[in-house]
Symmetry: C2
Subunit: 318 residues, 2 copies
């Protein structure tokens, strides 16, 4: 397998799915009759909270790692992140037996550092600014020869995240709508591609917190817009789109719906209480959008990707 330098094709996604199948879980699809009654629709939740490292990020990182040459891979994988992507890169390197170098802000919780180190990664701390992260990462890459795995603006990562919707479509027939939240757009663009290829009749919706509505504004404007605030509880969705993810999202999506923080917390609580599963706030954003827009979703068969389950139990919003 070679590194992808074009928008992933149907065959690229199939090849990716086959390749990463030994490094990721095939996660279950769950339903909940009380939520279905509440929304007047049938919702199929793809549970990436049960994925390795607790989030879909493992799919993209493992694909990016598998597509490196042996020489490249042996020098290691690198990234800057304090979240799920860091752990996904660390575990991918661990499974392939190569080094991982993770740049993390010095404000990262000790538990996240410990989890990443637990996979054998080397952590370099830096100040908590984007500039500090990027310059520190550059130095690490220069010194080690490791390959930077971008968290979303990378066709290998997009193809990996696309396998989530591919599995959902394989498991559930005749979906009318497929949804994911939008952060940097890796999952959203992968979801859009798999839907277009494998469920061409389904409409594709994104869902985003109002506070970080860069993707919504980018989608409407036709060019990339940026967030001025990142103060949302959905900490996985604070990132702006990249040019690769934006191109796919702008071309394929039906619409992007934005939701309030209150609606996100309410939808998160509904999923915790009714489905008895732990999801992170980002995962609740699509259900919040469904609850707020009955005219779009009523009576439909809807696939929703629950992105992950990594939350700090000491800091819950309810």
């Amino acid at each position: 397998m070679q590194s992808l330098h074009h928008i992933p094709t149907s065959d690229d996604i199939k090849e990716t799915h086959h390749a990463i199948s030994k490094m990721v879980h095939r996660t279950p699809v769950m339903t909940c009759s009380s939520i279905d009654r509440m929304v007047g629709a049938q919702i199929y939740f793809k549970c990436e909270n049960f994925q390795k490292v607790g989030a879909f990020k493992m799919r993209g990182a493992s694909n990016a790692a598998l597509r490196l040459s042996k020489t490249q891979a042996n020098k290691g994988l690198a990234t800057h992140s304090s979240g799920n992507h860091a752990q996904a890169v660390a575990l991918s390197a661990h499974l392939l037996g190569v080094p991982a170098y993770i740049v993390m802000p010095d404000t990262s919780p000790a538990i996240k550092k410990a989890a990443t180190e637990g996979y054998g990664a080397t952590i370099t701390l830096c100040k908590n600014t984007l500039e500090a992260r990027e310059t520190t990462l550059e130095k690490v890459v220069e010194k080690t020869g490791a390959t930077f795995i971008h968290p979303y603006n990378d066709y290998n990562v997009i193809a990996g995240q696309a396998t989530t919707a591919k599995e959902l479509i394989e498991d559930i027939d005749d979906l009318n709508i497929i949804m994911s939240p939008v952060g940097g757009g890796g999952l959203m663009s992968g979801t859009a591609l798999s839907t277009r290829y494998f469920a061409p009749n389904a409409k594709i919706y994104g869902a985003e917190p109002k506070i970080v509505d860069d993707a919504y504004r980018s989608f409407k404007a036709g060019n990339i817009q940026y967030n001025t605030s990142i103060d949302t509880i959905a900490d996985g969705l604070r990132t702006n789109l990249g040019e690769k993810t934006f191109e796919i999202i702008h071309r394929e999506l039906e619409d992007i719906l934005t939701v309030t923080e209150e609606a996100i917390i309410q939808a998160m609580r509904i999923i915790w209480e009714r489905m008895k599963i732990i999801i992170e706030p980002s995962s609740a954003v699509p259900l919040a959008a469904v609850l707020a827009n009955p005219s779009i979703f009523s009576g439909k068969r809807i696939g929703i990707i629950l992105t992950g389950g990594n939350v700090d139990l000491g800091k819950l919003p309810f």
Copy 2:
């Protein structure tokens, strides 16, 4: 099907399983590699937190309801409970189209009353003493002709709860040990019977909070002992054994292990954080016992029943 008046046989449990299959979910069995590494064993978790009403209680209540004559059933089902059994009786009645009468202490949380009323049950409030519950229930039964469904000391209920371990044994081969928590003993005695019938080589362990160790003391003494305190976080396990459940438990169990409150909370947190599922404190008691007794469990294939997932998210212990 007739009401059972003897210790359920293998055929009784098979018949029960077939009969209730339209009223309950076949719940999944989940595994977690990081917990397996932590305990040095392979654990298979039977997820009754995903059962209807959020707990295994639906199995016993539905079997008891299905074994009533048509004339009896039409007069309704009755019980006193503020917890999972109340909702299980209410939903069983709802699914069969017959009335349900639930006696609840007037101190019950509004959310529990609302959930039970949501299934169409008639609620009668009483003072929060066992005596008030029992006399109020007697009056309700006298007035309506409804049948009292005991939460555990009833062979129909025991046969229903036994289907949980039966499914676990069907899904997972060669278990060395099967465990459940012990409260009133309905699930524990049903688990013991199914293990004896369908996995005769497996050992059967119960797990119980030290603070309410009536089952442990009863098991050792050979006659029913009672709790003097009920101050455990595992609110599903505060009940004493009944004579029907005690007889089976005393005959079939290898041992009952007791655990501290701290160990319960720690095990609950491990399951929430690692498995991304919501379980109630009672469900964490067997894992707490495994963690505290490596000499018994190390290297074994262990089946654990996670009893339910009904927790108050506003009152978590972490």
